[in-house]
Symmetry: C2
Subunit: 503 residues, 2 copies
């Protein structure tokens, strides 16, 4: 077995590298660089003397400026550097880096559930959309009964998903920003994994009336609890409507489809310093394979691309796309400002423990998951794409909010990269977990689907892990495999992004 | 049977009344007042000619100003009046209406679970607090198993409540307003219905670290999923900790306690024009009985008291309490302003259909649930009381957000008044439903616990229904009765109020 590398240096002019494993004090990391203290796994070591106020570079990018003189061999942590000024999104260069030679995918078809319009499904679910949180208690009781009493009769249906959420009433429904959560709920009515069978449960007196989320408000699709006499009657009404939909859904079968019928999302959460060199670039490579095969891939998170947004602007296919990218950044800058915070509110304690010193370093790693394809469209939160290919879908970086936002945009599978580990899952779409370190895979063998940590130790290449991930995505999308989160039934609540006030 | 009244007029100088039932055109409602068109149930009829720009008065209060001339006998709906300027909270009169002759309660004790400190419990639950939403999927699987495999062995424990929520990470943890959700989650660790048995499940890398919500961060109480090797091991660890807590909780028994050990919350949702004359005044009378017996009663909702806040200021026991009341109003005015909305964002379509024309009319009805006792304390959202008696707990008016906020303040039972009907429930505390109209009780016989509609039809008095409600509260608090929401297992998600940004 070859000796494992001690450090990972990314670009030639970087003046720091990260450690592959924890390194004791006095270790010669490379010629002339001896560690001055113990350095934790994934943390930065200074490869040269860095003067006070001099730039600290990783990924060929300035992460920040040294607060004090840092001698060569020192551990550089989050307390030792000052954030640079964020890139000015009003003066970015567009479309100067449009790659045309993407790698070719090993397969170009998958097995999915064809829909009358739009993307195909990866699962065959009965989705029940709610207009307001008030109905949640009754709906959950009904869904329990549907699962026990009805589902076994319809073996070709994969499950029932109540789309419960915190929105719908007790909110400023006419606030300018209310458009975001309303769009999210409206778009959930059209989710590709719901097979075109619309079912809405509302209360009656709520602000978010059914006609605000769908054109099809007839009683075949919409059921309002206040119209029914008592609890038992309303539960029965929900079950009756559900059974009609289940009968239709049970007729559906998978078909061989081109990759252009597939839409997936990329997200990372609980990142560490390895995320940007192992898990995220592998996901980026898988994304390149998917996009070059015709699929649609969404990647997201505003605060986590903000500091490297100029790199995305260069990949925007035209000025219109580039300008919308800039607008989404400006909207978020303003949103954070109004809340009297800035982008330093990210990263988390776990990110820092994992070696990520600040949001610039996190952003450079985060962007790696987008691969290298041109960006054909930019979506505001919860918008549905109109183009196929690589798409930037602006959302908060919070996993718990980004996930539902991507679902509303229509993703039918999500790839989730993690360094620290999170057992997150989505009820509507399988979530494939990719970890950045082998230690993480060893710690959570039955939660992590793909280990990209082998890249850090030199046992695999980005292309190898990326191709493995691509194949796993196709297998999961086609129903040949299940993710760990699916096997364990791990689902998070729908936290749709609502920047408008609660009344 | 006596003839039922056709209308309800509240104060002598009111120039409108509301209809008890729908009234056809041409009906002589009172001497000299003939309806000019059909008037829906609970809607306002003009008792005299009202000139353009003249005040429209109900509850002796100006609801708004006529947009056009309104002839006597006309139906007055929400499109016919202009909102008055909200009361100036900077110049209110405090402590001029401190009632000392509250009605005496028929009983002064109840049966509760005594706690080492603070209020007693009405139920004996194992509560599991989460630091972050990431853990929800794993925790829910573990809780299912606890309910099936462990709970049957501990028959004196009423249930297990996972306190899942949308907070904890992916949020601006240092934003000035982040103090509100953090306080809410922290105070949930001390909920009286959890019997002093602390159990926290976190992830590891989240922003909301356990020491931010509790002093007791030892492994006896706190379990972080990233510390465990894989899914099965973490589920087992949760179950093992739960069983230790269940063993202790199973030793607890109810004791006869004074009313001063009881803390309840008052909330209304899906209100109509009857709410302010039937359900809410009955709740107010029950509140007076409770408070005069030594209990603590919280009432809430900022936008729904805003227009009548001067009436509360007069009942504030001193200037300090009055000033905090004013501060809470100003904070919310500013919060809505930043979201570019105002108090007209409330009421809902259902409120309007139920006859409530605007937020002034809704506020006057809403305040009725506070009864007539002096207000001894004002709480910011999710704060815990330091006084006993009637307390104003500032929260959003949204039922779904007010409920968890009152829970965080420690209520062990909630009384919920409704006109339009909502099947809402809280996992930690029984919710007693009181309806404003007999039609509502007939529509939802197995969801509404107490019907106050008999007051509108002259079949019962406010005092009678209020006393019936008081007795039901005592029975439910003492475990002798269950609410309908409990019987049906109707629970809403914990939407803790978070006015800070998501990152």
């Amino acid at each position: 077995m070859a000796t494992e590398p001690l450090y990972i240096k990314i670009k030639e002019n970087d003046n720091v590298a990260i450690t592959v494993h924890a390194i004791p004090a006095g270790t010669e990391v490379m010629e002339g660089v001896v560690s001055r203290q113990e350095i934790p796994q994934g943390h930065k070591i200074a490869l040269e003397d860095i003067e006070k106020d001099a730039p600290i570079r990783r990924y060929g990018v300035v992460l920040g400026y040294a607060l004090d003189f840092i001698p060569r061999g020192s551990w550089i942590n989050e307390h030792m550097l000052r954030l640079p000024i964020p890139p000015d999104v009003r003066h970015m260069t567009f479309s100067t880096n449009l790659r045309t030679d993407l790698p070719k995918p090993p397969v170009t078809t998958w097995e999915g559930y064809r829909n009358a319009e739009g993307y195909a499904g990866t699962r065959n679910y009965l989705g029940i959309i709610t207009t307001v949180q008030c109905v949640e208690g009754v709906l959950n009781v009904a869904v329990d009964r549907i699962r026990k009493e009805l589902l076994p009769k319809y073996p070709h249906v994969d499950g029932v998903v109540p789309v419960n959420h915190a929105y719908g009433c007790g909110v400023a429904i006419n606030a300018p920003e209310a458009v975001i959560p309303i769009r999210a709920i409206s778009n959930m009515t059209k989710h590709p994994n719901f097979g075109g069978e619309l079912m809405i449960v509302g209360l009656g007196c709520e602000k978010l009336q059914p006609n605000m989320i769908t054109d099809q408000v007839d009683p075949e699709h919409v059921l309002m609890l206040q119209d029914y006499q008592g609890f038992d009657v309303m539960v029965q009404a929900i079950m009756d409507m559900a059974e009609k939909k289940l009968k239709k859904l049970d007729q559906r079968r998978r078909e061989t489809l081109p990759l252009s019928d597939l839409i997936i999302g990329m997200q990372c959460g609980g990142s560490d310093a390895f995320s940007g060199v192992t898990a995220n670039p592998s996901a980026g490579y898988a994304s390149d394979l998917l996009v070059s095969g015709g699929a649609t891939v969404l990647f997201s998170a505003v605060t986590e691309v903000r500091d490297g947004v100029y790199l995305l602007a260069e990949r925007a296919v035209n000025e219109e796309v580039g300008k919308k990218l800039a607008d989404e950044m400006l909207w978020y800058d303003h949103y954070l400002e109004e809340g009297r915070v800035d982008r330093s509110a990210n990263p988390t304690p776990g990110n820092k423990k994992g070696g990520l010193s600040n949001i610039v370093e996190k952003a450079m790693g985060s962007i790696a998951k987008s691969g290298t394809a041109p960006i054909v469209e930019v979506l505001s939160p919860a918008e549905r794409p109109t183009k196929k290919g690589l798409i930037y879908a602006a959302t908060p970086a919070s996993d718990i909010v980004c996930g539902p936002s991507q679902l509303a945009s229509g993703i039918t599978l999500q790839v989730f990269m993690t360094g620290r580990g999170t057992p997150y899952g989505l009820p509507e779409a399988p979530v494939v977990k990719v970890c950045s370190r082998t230690d993480m895979k060893n710690q959570w063998p039955d939660l992590i689907d793909i280990n990209a940590g082998t890249i850090a130790t030199g046992h695999a290449t980005i292309e190898e892990v990326g191709t493995e991930l691509f194949q796993f995505i196709i297998d999961v999308a086609s129903g040949r495999k299940q993710t760990w989160a699916e096997k364990h039934h791990l689902y998070n609540y729908h936290c749709f992004f609502n920047p408008a006030p609660i009344t």
